[in-house]
């Protein structure tokens, strides 16, 4: 039986063999691998791209103090982006399951309709959840729009829920019982995060300060976006337009999104505020996406 990390190695190897860049996780908090610039920004524009990476994804409201065997504040996704999507993408995907030791002729696989939409990112796509013997193990999406922009090359996004998948492969009932590597359980590595961040997210995060931080990051992002409009196109180098730090602007968007999730988990966002805050974040995301597409053109 493969350990958690061996399974991850095999999946990375599999996509490496299919021409994907193997990236490392992004170092700003995200709620899903989709939000990383490696997905959100790279799917824009006409340039083909293939990338795979593990992304720890933080969802403060999903924390359960380490008590629920299947729910985590921070879970890990293996995110694969193939842009444009190859014709045999679903077969390639099924091949990846065989590569981690599943004999598909002995299992039940179903592709059940599940379209993905993210109001905060102005993004949506068409796809399925992949069910293996009744367990959802993957979200598969053909992106149609991102940052409010119709995509030129339709990418396929494959998101493996690593804890679920490996719990299935190892036949354990709690993610905490997953063998991470020989003699080390998932709980040994991650339980402290789950417990402490549940306490922080639900009980101790300073709401006033979070609101202030949200405002600060938003202001930083807005300032950058406004500056892009007037940034001189000619300068010391021919790369002048490409110097403009839209990637930094996007980091501010991610910060805002995470702060929104924290405030939400803290129960600090009222009904009337909620829609408004989502819109604030979306405006930043959509604005950054538009300028990025423009800058890369």
């Amino acid at each position: 039986m493969d350990s958690f990390q061996q399974t991850v190695f095999k999946l990375k190897r599999y996509w490496d063999e299919r021409g994907a860049i193997i990236q490392e996780p992004y170092d700003v908090e995200v709620g899903a691998g989709t939000m990383c610039p490696e997905t959100f920004l790279r799917v824009l524009g006409p340039k083909p791209y293939r990338v795979a990476y593990v992304q720890p994804s933080r969802r403060p409201a999903d924390g359960r103090y380490g008590e629920n065997p299947n729910r985590l504040y921070k879970h890990m996704q293996l995110q694969v982006i193939l842009k444009p999507s190859p014709d045999d993408i679903l077969d390639q995907y099924l091949g990846s399951l065989e590569a981690i030791g599943l004999d598909l002729s002995k299992h039940d696989i179903k592709f059940e309709e599940d379209n993905w939409e993210s109001p905060t990112l102005g993004a949506w796509g068409i796809g399925w959840q992949v069910m293996l013997d009744g367990q959802e193990i993957t979200q598969f999406t053909y992106f149609q729009q991102c940052g409010g922009i119709d995509l030129d090359l339709v990418p396929a996004e494959i998101t493996y829920g690593l804890e679920r998948l490996v719990a299935f492969l190892q036949g354990v009932e709690s993610v905490y019982d997953i063998e991470w590597t020989r003699g080390v359980k998932y709980a040994d590595v991650r339980l402290a995060d789950e417990l402490q961040f549940s306490v922080y997210n639900f009980e101790m995060a300073n709401v006033d300060r979070l609101w202030r931080l949200l405002g600060e990051y938003e202001a930083e992002c807005k300032e950058l976006l406004a500056a892009y409009e007037t940034y001189p196109t000619l300068g010391v180098s021919t790369l002048q337009p490409r110097r403009f730090p839209l990637l930094a602007a996007y980091d501010q968007v991610l910060k805002c999104s995470h702060l929104f999730n924290l405030l939400d988990a803290r129960g600090a966002i009222s009904v009337t505020e909620r829609v408004g805050v989502i819109k604030r974040v979306r405006d930043l995301a959509v604005g950054t996406a538009k300028m990025w597409a423009d800058q890369q053109a």
């Binding site: 598909l104 002729s105 039940d108 149609q144």
Partner: protein, 637 residues
């Protein structure tokens, strides 16, 4: 000629497949009847006896006027590619008879199939090649088989060329299977694809029944179109989970896992489930174990939610509803709760009904409902009972989303009926007040369903609220539409009967139903239709005379004979329950009156008196139904 078209796709959402097949079965196949079938990965049309060629045709084409001269005629002939000598004259114009030779149907199909295929209407489509200018379909098309007497009909969609090679089941079948019209279905079967939806459905029904599952038509339909090779297996769960409410267990199995539940002989849930796989077997029990493991985790979640939720009683959750949005413009569920409580009071609901109204939305804050949203209301009812609320309160909360559909049951207790009515009315009034009115097929707040629920509860619970007290203006019209729909589609009354009764006004729906039942009963009687015709005539006479009188009949002015007889009959028209007999006696007298008596006489006093008589007679019936709305056999439906 035989025709076979298979559109090979990635997995199509199950619920969209039947609609696509209906569209494909309307395809024009040159005289042949298309036979359609589908699995999630293929849409198939087959036909035999398709014409090989379209027939030759002779067309008459009119050219320039003769006055335009020979030069124009020559130009016309050149354009039509004929010798000018073959032109004829029709009237003042040059013309020609042109022979249009028939075409090979295979050639026509090769031109038309791409647009036929891409012309299928889907609820939501995607693009996958060529960006947003590329073709749109429900899911990517990956292969196409198109054969005309086993010769490929050549065409291309999104880079996929038609061919004679299909694909089998994803895991069990071959990738490239050469097929002919004759062996297509059997080759698929060898490769673990059962093409016929009927056959898959039957296989599911037979197997799940053998395994003791409780059949569920919707779930069977879903599984029929989510599998290419369905096989049922039975799994077990620890009977300790049977402590959880059956509603919760069933919802987890059915809605989240697409399993059938299994009942023991006494009708209680048994600790088993039946799953339908998309494969041919599970010899090592791997699939069974996998599904059992998933179900156990799901049940554990449910138990965890149940336990956590008990830490805070429903009553203590009501204030938390201020954080749950009902609708941006209509505020939170706390505000809605307060409105429902008030409305229940206005509707005369007792203490239990008011308590139920106060608690009915509190379950929206529970973990259980956040996870299993379709259990809203039901969870509230179960928790209320568990937390010691009176049974009448618990039951009313449990039922207050009912009826869930037009066929669904209404709440079983008066308290439940009133709370359900108040909840739906509040939604309707609120949405209409802020302009969220359904248009066309757009009805994001399910207002039609809410209105339908209001109508169904009012009628079937025989509640004595007057429509005017519940709604007015646009909302009243909206409810009237639903009332019509209910009596026509659900109760099967004829549309003109419904119109006739509605034209006489609506007080309570119970009264409306009684009048409708009366009308439907008297309608087949011999005297009814002639009377309806006479009533229409009266209506026309009154309309033409612009008659609007509240005067009384002057008996002294009545002529002996038909007029006096009609007056006597008018007096004998009794109350609602004896109207049927009145029709029998009235009809011959009314006929005779129209036969012998002139209404529009020159003498204004007599004329007015006769119009008054007719008007009063009509009024006696008009509280029941407006007979002029009845379509009689002399009229076109």
């Amino acid at each position: 000629m035989n025709f076979l078209l298979e559109i090979g796709t990635e997995e199509i959402p199950h619920w969209m497949i039947p609609g696509a097949l209906i569209q494909l079965s309307a395809m024009d196949l040159f005289g042949a009847t298309p036979e359609v079938d589908a699995t999630p990965r293929r849409l198939v049309i087959r036909a035999s006896n398709v014409a090989e060629r379209t027939p030759n045709q002779e067309l008459t084409i009119t050219g320039p006027p003769i006055s335009a001269g020979e030069k124009a005629a020559a130009g016309f002939a050149r354009k039509q590619q004929v010798d000018p000598g073959t032109l004829i004259q029709i009237g003042d114009y040059f013309a020609l008879h042109k022979q249009i030779p028939g075409r090979a149907v295979r050639d026509i199909l090769s031109e038309t199939l791409p647009s036929t295929i891409l012309g299928i209407q889907w609820p939501k489509t995607m693009y996958w090649v060529g960006g947003k200018t590329g073709p749109r379909f429900i899911r990517p098309i990956r292969w196409i088989v198109a054969l005309f007497d086993d010769e490929v009909i050549p065409f291309e969609i999104a880079g996929v060329k038609s061919e004679s090679v299909t694909r089998g089941h994803r895991q069990l079948g071959s990738f490239g299977i050469p097929v002919t019209f004759a062996n297509y279905e059997s080759e698929l079967r060898k490769n673990f694809v059962i093409l016929s939806a009927d056959e898959r459905r039957q296989k599911i029904v037979t197997e799940i029944t053998q395994l003791g599952a409780k059949p569920d038509a919707d779930l069977i339909e879903t599984l029929t179109f989510i599998t290419e090779y369905p096989t049922a297996i039975r799994g077990d769960f620890d009977s300790a989970y049977l402590d959880l409410p059956a509603e919760v267990l069933t919802t987890v199995m059915r809605h989240h896992q697409k399993y059938f539940s299994v009942e023991s002989a006494d009708g209680k849930l048994a600790p088993h489930f039946v799953a339908v796989m998309n494969t041919n077997g599970d010899p090592e029990g791997l699939v069974k174990r996998g599904n059992e493991r998933v179900l156990k985790a799901r049940f554990n979640d449910a138990r965890f939610f149940w336990d956590v939720d008990q830490h805070k009683k429903l009553a203590d959750r009501v204030e938390d509803l201020s954080h749950v949005t009902f609708q941006a413009k209509l505020g939170s569920y706390l505000e809605k709760t307060n409105r429902i409580v008030k409305l229940v009071e206005e509707l005369g609901g007792d203490g239990h009904a008011q308590r139920a109204a106060y608690l009915c939305k509190a379950d929206l804050t529970t973990e259980m409902v956040k996870e299993f949203t379709d259990l809203q209301g039901i969870v509230g009812g179960l928790y209320a009972r568990h937390q010691g609320e009176p049974e009448a309160v618990a039951k009313a909360i449990y039922d207050h989303y009912k009826p869930l559909s037009m066929e669904g049951e209404i709440p079983s207790t008066l308290e439940g009926q009133i709370v359900a009515l108040a909840d739906k009315l509040d939604t309707l009034r609120g949405c209409f007040a802020v302009g969220l009115v359904p248009t066309g097929s757009k009805d994001p707040f399910a207002l039609r369903r809410a209105a339908q629920g209001v109508v169904k509860i009012l009628v079937e619970a025989k509640l004595e609220y007057k429509l005017d007290d519940l709604a007015n203006g646009e909302l009243k019209d909206f409810l009237l539409d639903r009332i019509k729909y209910y009596f026509r589609e659900i109760r099967g009354f004829k549309y003109d009967e419904v119109n006739a009764v509605l034209a006489s006004g609506v007080a309570t729906l119970e009264n409306l139903e009684a009048r409708l039942e009366w009308l439907a009963k008297v309608r087949p009687t011999d005297d009814f239709e002639p009377l309806a015709v006479s009533f229409k005539r009266i209506n026309n006479i009154l309309k033409q005379a612009n008659f609007a009188s509240d005067g009384e009949i002057n008996v002294a002015l009545l002529e002996e004979g038909p007029e006096k007889d009609l007056y006597d009959a008018y007096w004998q028209v009794g109350a609602f329950d004896s109207l049927a007999e009145s029709i029998a006696s009235l009809r011959p007298r009314l006929d005779r009156f129209f036969d012998k008596v002139m209404v529009n006489v020159p003498d204004a006093v007599i004329r007015t008196n006769r119009l008054t008589l007719l008007h009063k007679l009509l009024s006696k019936f008009s509280t029941v139904a407006d007979f002029s709305e009845i379509v009689t056999s002399g009229e076109q439906e």
